[in-house]
């Protein structure tokens, strides 16, 4: 039973290029004052980049349930932890 590889070296190159473009965009946007937008933009682009790294470099799409569970649950708990701590700090 051989695993089929959907990710080719070409895909890697495309992903790499996308990462570079996104990073450059992040940096450029930080030069202008963004005000309240800075945080959502910074974190949003970061999330996008991490998604690319996860799906392409780390080959996440290829794996079974256990791997996906690990990849989803940990960030989810991290997010919930932050949400509840902010729910305290902001609203106390």
């Amino acid at each position: 039973m051989k695993r089929r590889l959907h990710i080719t070296p070409r895909t890697l190159w495309i992903a790499f290029a996308a990462l570079l473009v996104l990073a450059a965009g992040s940096w450029a946007s930080s030069l202008v004052p963004l005000g309240a937008l800075a945080v959502p933009l910074g974190l949003g682009v970061a999330a996008l980049k991490v998604a690319i790294v996860g799906l392409v470099f780390m080959d996440l799409g290829e794996h079974g349930g256990g791997v996906r569970l690990a990849a989803v649950v940990a960030p989810a708990f991290l997010a919930l932890m932050i949400a509840f701590m902010l729910g305290d700090v902001w609203l106390r």
Partner: protein
């Protein structure tokens, strides 16, 4: 083929073994010692609390005692005891595997445990810490006692716990024998699996929080110092993010033991396999979102109080489902009361009571009175001693023949169970009442009005100690002089009983047929009779 005990000889063949059964036994011995040490701390504490003033033990020593008691019981005994002890021994057998997925890592987890235990012990010997097992800042960052070695010790113990959990998760996913699907495994495996998830995801958070306290204490970094923009309440969030899920690390394996014991001694299939399996997962995941119920009076926002309050209620439902399923399993069974089942009955009563008092303290407004009083102390001892320790004793008796190949005296075992139950209730029921009266916990001295109930509790703790010593004696005697146990002394259908006692080095002599671990209907291949309760 020789059994795993006789397969190799010499100390090194134990300390460097990669056999999951031997590693399990090593953990059982080590955690047993921890129980003894932690229990002795408790007995000294109760001795001091027999009278209102500080008589035999001064305040400073008392404060160290409850800290060391909590640390020892939680991290050295309870968290590894059932998963790393019984789990290691049984999990591969129960899924028809030859060993865990990463045997070397498994041994490493024991070695890491020993290192952590030694560092903790070193901390205790050079004076011990007086922070409580919760290490709340800013106190823990400024205490004059030896908090740093204890923090380091617990940090290391945490990694042992992560490694064990990781190994078990992978083992369950990849090592199940052919034909054993997820819903064909004994439910104990589900319990250990869910526990492992918590260990892997929660423990690193503890590690980082303790490291931060250590940096505050050792290098004055002031991470949680309000003068420097820190916030001590945030430490509490981080600590409980681990420590609430950790209470389920302590109880889920015990619940697995209860399921196995009940099914074996009632000769019955569980009333609902899936209800138990799913509620186990439910506890593991939803359990992550209830941590704030330890902080209702800490000055947390009312929004968070509401959220954590209701999430605590939701996670409780899963436990209740399990309890009802167990009781339902007895229905139409063929019950034979032996020592393990006697412990399980004690568990049922004490866990329901302890769990419902958990629901009581999770009721936000009521916790305002109960928080940090003896009511909470009673709540968690009902679950951890009345629940988990009792289940641990059940497991010890239930699997004793499998692990050692010998049988203990049933009558003496029952006497032990009764002593433990009586001692337990005398110790901890008065503590609920003390909590209602308003006696705060971690009090070395207390006003006169609390004296009578405290005295009663102290007497109870001696009976409990006596009971446990009795149990130790009974099992020690059985170890050397017990009658030989056959393959399956209880007439159980579960997989671990389908190999010799003690099992051979590679678990099964000949490829076994592993099917129907809860099948107690007539002939194994006859059409099972299905009925509704």
């Amino acid at each position: 083929m020789t059994d795993y005990l006789r397969a190799d000889r010499g100390i090194a063949s134990w300390l460097l073994t990669r056999d999951h059964k031997r590693i399990g036994v090593l953990f059982l011995v080590a955690t047993g010692v921890a129980l003894l040490v932690g229990g002795l701390f408790a007995l000294f504490m109760r001795l001091e609390l027999a009278t209102p003033e500080a008589t035999m033990i001064d305040e400073g020593s008392y404060n160290r005692l409850f800290t060391l008691h909590g640390v020892t019981m939680v991290w050295l005994f309870m968290i590894p005891a059932i998963p790393a002890g019984f789990g290691n021994f049984l999990l591969p057998i129960m899924i028809g595997a030859e060993d865990v997925a990463f045997p070397k890592l498994n041994l490493a987890s024991f070695h890491v445990y020993v290192v952590g235990a030694l560092v903790t012990l070193f901390g205790m010997l050079i004076g011990g810490a007086d922070t409580g097992w919760t290490f709340y800042v800013p106190y823990a960052a400024g205490t004059p006692t030896a908090v740093i070695p204890i923090l380091v010790g617990v940090f290391v113990l945490g990694w042992s716990s992560v490694i064990t959990g990781l190994n078990f998760i992978v083992t369950v996913h990849t090592m199940r024998a052919e034909g054993i699907g997820w819903f064909d495994m004994p439910l104990f495996v589900w319990a250990i699996y869910a526990t492992s998830i918590i260990q892997v995801l929660a423990t690193p958070v503890l590690g980082m929080s303790l490291a931060l306290v250590g940096l505050d204490a050792g290098f004055d970094l002031g991470v949680f110092d309000p003068e420097r923009g820190g916030d001590p309440v945030l430490y509490q969030h981080l600590f409980w993010f681990y420590s609430h899920p950790a209470v389920y690390i302590m109880v889920l394996p015990a619940m697995g033991v209860v399921t196995e014991t009940i099914c074996t001694f009632a000769r019955k299939n569980p009333l609902s396999y899936r209800a138990i399996a799913y509620s186990t997962l439910g506890i593991a995941f939803v359990g992550f979102l209830a941590w704030g119920h330890h902080m209702f009076t800490a000055g947390m926002s009312t929004f968070d109080a509401a959220a954590f309050g209701i999430l605590s209620m939701l996670v409780s439902i899963f436990s209740a489902i399990k309890v009802f399923t167990w009781v339902g399993t007895l229905h139409r069974g063929a019950i034979h009361v032996s020592t393990p089942l006697a412990y399980v009955f004690a568990f049922l009563f004490l866990f329901v009571f302890g769990g419902m008092t958990g629901v009581a303290v999770a009721t936000t407004s009521l916790d305002v009175h109960w928080h940090d009083t003896y009511f909470v102390v009673a709540h968690f001892h009902f679950i951890m001693v009345g629940g988990t320790l009792t289940a641990y004793l059940a497991a010890l008796h239930y699997w004793f023949p499998k692990i050692t190949g010998r049988r203990y005296s049933e009558r003496a075992g029952l006497v032990g169970a009764v002593l433990v139950f009586v001692g337990f209730t005398t110790t901890f029921v008065p503590q609920f009442l003390l909590g209602n009266m308003g006696m705060p916990r971690r009090y070395a001295t207390y006003p006169e009005q609390f004296a009578a109930l405290n005295a009663m509790s102290t007497v109870g703790s001696w009976v409990l100690g006596l009971g446990l010593a009795w149990v130790l004696g009974v099992l020690a005697k059985a170890l050397v002089a017990g009658a030989r146990a056959g393959e399956d002394p209880w007439g159980s259908a579960s997989f671990e009983w389908r190999t010799a006692s003690p099992p051979p080095k590679h678990n099964f002599e000949a490829p076994p047929v592993l099917v129907g671990c809860y099948d107690y209907t007539g002939e194994a291949d006859g059409e099972p009779e299905v009925r509704h309760a």
